[in-house]
């Protein structure tokens, strides 16, 4: 019980889990340390919309009682986490960062939230997001924009903006994000943390506000890769209430994150990021060197053009998001932020033939990617072109027209994709890259990501607030 508050909030989930199991710390002390830090510093980055302090304290007391009797529910028992505010929570405001849901209090937890609670996790609160996981963070929305803890004049990335910012700032040990076109990996990269978009269908989306049904995924964001593996151990599994849910075999991801990667074959998609900033190129080249030193075989492979995946995914998102939000953009268009409204309206102008062509193209890209990856366990790809954008108004409405997304290929193919930090640029912002597995092979992704982190010093450097 002697650890100071600042020491508690910089523990990883794996470290805290060990200390809790040995009763060297309590869930109550851990929870109080995070609540105190949220009170002290969150006003600088606005990562939380709602802090559920009383519920967290009750859950922590319950966890301490159980752990005191030798009952450990799993790796998240007593661990304080937080949720992107598109995850429905029983009796707790769930806003989607939008005027349209600013008073919405669900009566049932999302399936993922139910699993986290059943695993003993302590929910600290609800986190800022781009409106309905799509629009930019603009001043016409009901809550402030989350800021990047490495430099608060800059965006944290999105759409899981609050999740990335809160984890990096030490305001929770892990957070839930969602990823339809990069919304976990984008803020994970810009905030210098780990985040995984699981295989489409591995984690239930039931009870999470949808953006595009055929691309939406839910996943964890944490300080380390191993911690993401521990969270996925609790989250993964079939859910009959999610039409896309897969009956995949149970895997011990936490154990996989300690596997050797000697002999692992990695296809390097170098051709995609030749125009990235020099810092980014250097960070990725150094990551390749580290993985080779660890015994992996990394070879350059040519994949389909990045823009092909990008436009395929954008057409699907634009049409599906319009279908989901059409009624509200007709009835109360002024209630949306100015970027969100236009992004949701645009789908009204695409035709059925264009949508079906994009779906057919998706199948082709999936097959072409599989063929390019034949003989390899993983793909290594860039995560971002350079540092995050500074805050400025007005913001671009259709941000996706200027640059192709490195994340989108794996939304289109459905493969698991992990973002992790590979150093810091000359501007002090984190650098990042992606490791991507075959469908449902998150284990190999975690093995390589965790081995990389253990071999590099980047997890020792935290933002100061």
């Amino acid at each position: 019980m002697s650890k100071r508050s600042s020491e508690l909030t910089t523990l990883t989930i794996a470290q805290a889990g060990d200390l809790l199991a040995r009763r060297e710390i309590t869930a109550t002390a851990l929870t109080e340390a995070f609540l105190a830090r949220i009170a002290a510093v969150d006003h600088k980055i606005a990562s939380y919309i709602t802090v559920t302090a009383d519920l967290a304290r009750r859950a922590a007391a319950q966890a301490d009682r159980e752990l005191g009797h030798g009952v450990r529910r799993g790796p998240l028992h007593g661990i304080p986490i937080a949720l992107k505010d598109i995850y429905e929570t029983e009796g707790v405001l769930t806003t989607g960062h939008s005027h349209l849901r600013k008073d919405h209090v669900p009566s049932v937890d999302a399936e993922t939230v139910r699993r986290l609670k059943a695993g003993g996790a302590i929910i600290l609160g609800k986190l800022a997001t781009h409106e309905f996981a799509n629009g930019a963070m603009t001043p016409d929305q009901p809550f402030p924009a989350a800021k990047n803890p490495w430099n608060t004049a800059y965006q944290p990335g999105g759409s899981s903006s609050g999740s990335g910012a809160a984890v990096a700032a030490g305001l929770c040990m892990g957070a839930m994000g969602s990823d339809t076109g990069g919304s976990i990996r984008n803020p994970a990269g810009f905030c210098g943390i780990a985040g995984i978009k699981p295989t489409y269908g591995l984690v239930s989306r039931c009870g999470i506000f949808p953006l595009a049904f055929s691309l939406d995924t839910a996943g964890p964001m944490t300080w380390t890769v191993e911690d993401s593996a521990l969270m996925l151990d609790v989250l993964a599994g079939y859910d009959p209430n999610d039409q896309a849910s897969a009956k995949a075999p149970k895997v011990d991801y936490g154990a996989a994150s300690h596997r050797s990667i000697k002999g692992m074959r990695i296809a390097f998609a170098r051709g995609w990021h030749e125009d990235a900033t020099p810092d980014t190129l250097k960070g990725i080249d150094e990551a390749v060197r580290v993985l080779r030193d660890l015994g992996a075989i990394v070879e350059e492979v040519v994949f389909p053009d990045l823009w092909d995946y990008h436009i395929c995914g954008r057409v699907i998102i634009t049409v599906e998001a319009h279908a989901i939000h059409r009624q509200e953009v007709i009835e109360t268009p002024q209630s949306f932020g100015y970027t969100t409204r236009r992004r949701f309206q645009l789908g009204a102008f695409l035709t059925a033939e264009q949508y079906v062509s994009a779906l057919r193209f998706r199948r082709q890209l999936q097959l072409d990617t599989r063929a390019a990856m034949r003989g390899y366990d993983l793909i290594l790809a860039a995560n971002q072109w350079g540092p995050p954008e500074p805050f400025k108004e007005p913001q671009p409405i259709f941000h996706f027209l200027d640059k192709a997304s490195f994340a989108m290929p794996f939304n289109v193919t459905g493969q698991p994709a992990l973002t992790l930090c590979c150093g810091f640029g000359s501007d002090s912002f984190p650098l990042a890259f992606q490791l991507v597995g075959r469908p449902f092979d998150e284990a190999s992704v975690f093995a390589a990501g965790a081995a990389f982190e253990r071999a590099t010093p980047w997890r020792l450097h935290r933002p100061s607030l």
Partner: protein, 63 residues
């Protein structure tokens, strides 16, 4: 108007009037820019498919 040729703002206004959406003039101008940008990129999506080429009804990552 072909799906993949860019409409003028006037042509787009006419289409917007049929969309069922309550749009301001500013909305229409922004949406026109977005639509033209998308259409430009959509030349990458093949238009000619075998007539029976079936898109995934429910996407399965594991097939």
């Amino acid at each position: 108007m072909d799906d993949k040729t860019s409409p003028t703002l006037e042509e787009f206004r006419a289409r917007a009037a049929l969309s069922g959406l309550p749009l301001t003039p500013e909305d229409i101008e922004e949406l026109h820019k977005g639509y033209v940008g998308l259409v430009r990129l959509m030349v990458r999506i093949p238009k000619k498919w075998d007539w029976a080429a079936e898109p995934p009804q429910v996407f399965r990552a594991d097939e």
